[in-house]
Every structure is written in C-alpha cells, then in structure tokens.
C-alpha cells in the first residue's frame, strides 16, 4: 500500500464576501447542501439562520450551565452544612446546627455564581477562545466582518474541497468577491 503523506493544502480555504445576511444565509445553505461540512460563516451580529445554515442545530451550552448551577448550589449548601454541623458548630439562640432555611440565601447565590461562571467560561472554552491568531483574519476585507459584511468560508480540510470547483460554486452564489485564505 502506498504511504499517504499528509500534504498541507496551499490555502486554508476559500472565502466569499456578501453585502447582506440574506445572500450569505442562502449561500451557506447551498454550500451545506452540496455536501461541504467544514464550513463557517462570519457576521457582525448574530444571525440565527446563518448558524443553522452552517449546520449548528443545537449547542450544549444549557447542559454546561445546568451542571455549573448544580455544582455551585451543592458547594454552597454543603459548605454551610460542614461549617455549622461539623467544623465549627456554634449554638446561636438555641437554633439547630442544621438550620437549613438560613442556608438558602447563600445556596441560591452560589447556584447563580456557578451557573454564570460555567456559562461564560464554558462558552469561551467551547469556542476555543482566546485564540489571538486565526487564518481567517488573513482574508482581504475581513475587518468588515465586524462592521456590515457577511462571509462564508469553505475550509480546504473539507474532503470535497477543490480549489477550482469550490471556487466556481461560491462565485455562482452572488458574492462581492471570492478570495483565498492564506494559512
């Protein structure tokens, strides 16, 4: 059997630039329908259809946040239980050591804290941020992705990627421009 050497493709991918979200969504849908999977789109503000079009149908964010909330709440309650029943049991006005109603406010706050921390840091981790360098920043005009332009990217790592054919497909979708993205 011939040994397949992994050759680094010449470009990171092809980027199509659009004026408006409608065209970008249509283009992303079309590219996805054509069987490309390593695709992405870029927009200055969230466009739900665009995320759907590149194949993101659900995120695990709610689960992550739920786990954070449960961990936070348990930490809060058990901390108070441990402190007041075992470690430093203090008789205050004859109240029981395990006086659970008084433990609720701190438990609640810790639940929110846990869930909030997991929401933000979970989101960053799952998005792979912080990531100071990324090849897409090499695309011409990409600075406008944070202003009023919309971009659709097909990565060269996609098995269906072919510089000519993929380029033709993208150009047929009415972009302003289709450009190579350097590594």
């Amino acid at each position: 059997m011939a040994v397949k050497r992994k050759v680094r493709p010449a470009v990171y991918g092809l980027m199509a630039e659009f004026d408006n979200p409608t065209d970008a969504v249509a283009a992303a849908r079309r590219v996805h329908e054509e069987g490309y999977r390593k695709i992405d789109a870029f927009s200055p503000y969230p466009v739900e259809e665009l995320s759907e079009a590149v194949g993101v149908h659900k995120t695990y964010m709610p689960h992550v946040v739920l786990v954070g909330g449960i961990l936070g709440g348990l930490t809060g309650y058990l901390l108070q239980y441990y402190v007041h029943v075992h470690y430093y049991a203090l008789n205050v006005g004859g109240k029981p050591f395990h006086s659970w109603p008084a433990f609720i406010p701190v438990t609640f706050e810790m639940t929110v804290l846990g869930a909030g921390l997991f929401a933000v840091f979970g989101m960053l981790a799952m998005n792979g941020l912080p990531e100071p360098y990324h090849p897409v920043f090499n695309a011409p005009n990409f600075a406008l992705a944070s202003r009023d332009r919309f971009f659709v990217l097909v990565e060269s790592a996609d098995p269906k990627f072919d510089r000519e054919r993929t380029g033709e497909l993208l150009r047929s979708l009415g972009p302003r421009e289709v450009t190579d993205v350097e590594h």
Binding site: D40, Q80, V83, Y88, L90, F108, G116, V120
Partner: protein
Amino acid sequence: MSQEKYDFAHEDVGIHTTPAVIEPGHTFGTVTDKISSIVLRKRTPLVWWIGLGLSFMLVQVLMGTITHLVFTGIGIWGNNQPVGWSFDIINFVWWIGIGHAGTLISAILLLLRQSWRTSINRFAEAMTLFAVACAGLFPLLHTGRPWLAYWLFPYPNTMGIQPQFRSPLMWDVFAVSTYATISALFWYTGLLPDLATLRDRARSRFGRIVYGMASLGWRGSARHWARYETAYLLLAGLSTPLVLSVHTIVSFDFAIGIIPGWHATIFPPYFVAGAIYAGFAMVLTLVIPLRKFYGLEDFITERHLRNSAKVMLATGLIVAYGYMMETWTAWYSANTYEEFMMRNRFFGPYALFYWALIVCNVIVPQFLWVRRVRHSNLALFAIAMFVNVGFLRFLPVISIFEMRTMVPGAQVKEEA
C-alpha cells in the same frame, strides 16, 4: 454596535408616532462608524478633563474621610448600639440600588425582547459595575478594619473559626460578591464582539494590540455566535432572579432584625422597587448629558428617555405604596414602639427630612403622568435629580437614632 439587530424602521406608527429606537437613515455601517469613532478618532474634549479633575478632587475628599474613619473608628458615622449600621448602610443600599437598574436594563429587558434596550444597555451595565464597587466600600469600611475584611469569607485558617452563615451579613457577602462577579461577566460577554469591532477599526498599532487582546480573538463565526447567544440569554435569565435576590437579601439586613421600623415583611419588594426607581433616575441623570455631549441623539432617542420615565413612574408608585404600608403596619400592629417610631418619623427631630423625602420621591415624580413633562429633557433631568436626592428614602434607617432607648432590653424593662 454589533450586539443585536436594531429595528431601524418606524415600525409602530400609531396615532401618536412613537419615536424610533434609532433615527432613520442609519445602516449597520454608519452606526458602527459613528460609535467607534467616539472611542478611536475623537480627541478627548477639554470638558472631559475638567470633569475628571472635579471627580478626582472628590476622590481626594473620600480618601481624607476614609483616613479619618479608619484612625478614629466607625463611631463617626453614628454607629453604636442599637444603631449597628447608620451612614454606611444608607450608602451601601443606595449604591446597590443604582446598580440594579443596569442589570434590569441588560437582563430583564433582554428577556422581554425590548429592543430599545440595545442603545443604553452597555453603559447601564458599566454603571452597575461602578455602583457595585462603590457599594462594596461601605460594608468593607464598616468592619472598621478593612484590611481584615477577608475574614468574612469561609477559608481554612489558623484561628480555627468560621463565619456565621445564619447572619444576614454573610448572606450579603455572598449576594454582593456574586452580583459583582456576574455583572462583570455579563458586561464583558456583551462587550466581546464590540471589542472585536474596535480592534478592526483601530488605526494605531497600540489600539489594535490592546483591543485585539481584549476581544480574545473574536471573529464573529456563526458557530461561535450560536453558543454565544445561548450563553448570553442564560446569563440574562440568571441575572434576573439574581438582581431580585440581591436587594431582597440587602433588605434582610433590616427585616431580620427586631428593631421597630425595620422588622417588616414589606421590605424585600419595597427595596427592589426602590432600587429600580433610583437606578432609572440615575440612568436618566447620566444619559441626558451623555447623548448631548457625544452627539448620540440618533441612537439614544426620545423613546429611551420616555420609556425610562415610565419605568420610573411605575416603580415610584410601588415605593409610595411601601411608605403607606409602613405607616399602616405601624398603626395596625398596635405595638407602642412601632407607633412611636412612626410618630417620631412624622413629627420628631427628623420630620423635615421625612417630608422632604415624600416630596422628592412621591410628589414630584407624579408630574411624569403629564405627557409634556415626559417629553421635556430638562424636566426629566430635574425629576431624576429629585429622585436621586430621594436617597433620603433610607431616612427610615437613621430615624431610629432617636430610639436608642428602644433596645429589646430596654423594652422589657419598661413593660415590666
């Protein structure tokens, strides 16, 4: 800038034309350019330096007074027994309350899909952060030895002691520190795409590096946006009960005690409404000059001001109801000490302040019922100022100064 979709058009043209959230003639591009130019292009105006100078001088007054406080003791605030908290709790509660309007605008209005929030939410969140920082000063200084304030947290220590979790003071520690953390995270998460916009607009290398690092390499990927949107929405959903719980817990500082005038179940809702009320007054105080000086009339429109005025009126009425209930409860309780406290508040040595409070917080805001008043920025600013002064609403806190003989022990002695 890049946070959400704006409704550009005058969608809701009714009999009275509602002003748009954004004035017509703007596109996503022009909105971005206009706002980022304030940060990146404009020279800092001289007035800004003058304002900073004045604030800096006031900070020096703060430093001087803190020095005096730390060297002399918290008695200079009027703290003693039974007045365990006085000047410090007034400031603490007032500042926390100011912060709550920021969270309300960010979180609750997001959940209610009020798109007008988008123009003012970020600065309201920033207002929250600074307000919480100011609020945090007071419990810290209240300890008398602020350098030992970390003793409030449960941590393994050689003294072998732990904090008392049944005390509202500990609930406060957890509520306020959680609130500060979540507010900072919420603000930063919302800011992330905006920082990326600034990075892409910045012309100087320094600007690109600083904004580039701060934006964590955000590139507006659709896959990222999907998670970002979910996380942001969940944060809003978490912040909403959080903001209610924080002021509820702050009110527990009072309500859990057994001091006449403080021991009342009305306190949690009354405090939350008061917080939103004072907070929206502060939003108006900040936003009316801000939009004028920075020429942001196109983005922070009349609609924002009027909506804020309406929220202020509604919450102001809840606060007025709180005052009435306090009085009624004092009478209905048939408790001598509660009754004395109320009479003392109405006619005692602090009566002038009490009636000033009623004028500022209950009577003046009623002008907001009038359309013409709501439409005049000057009148709105004036009313907001009155409500700000209405932090006298925490006068109930100090009017118990006059009741030093009302410690539970003294009550028992008199009854015996």
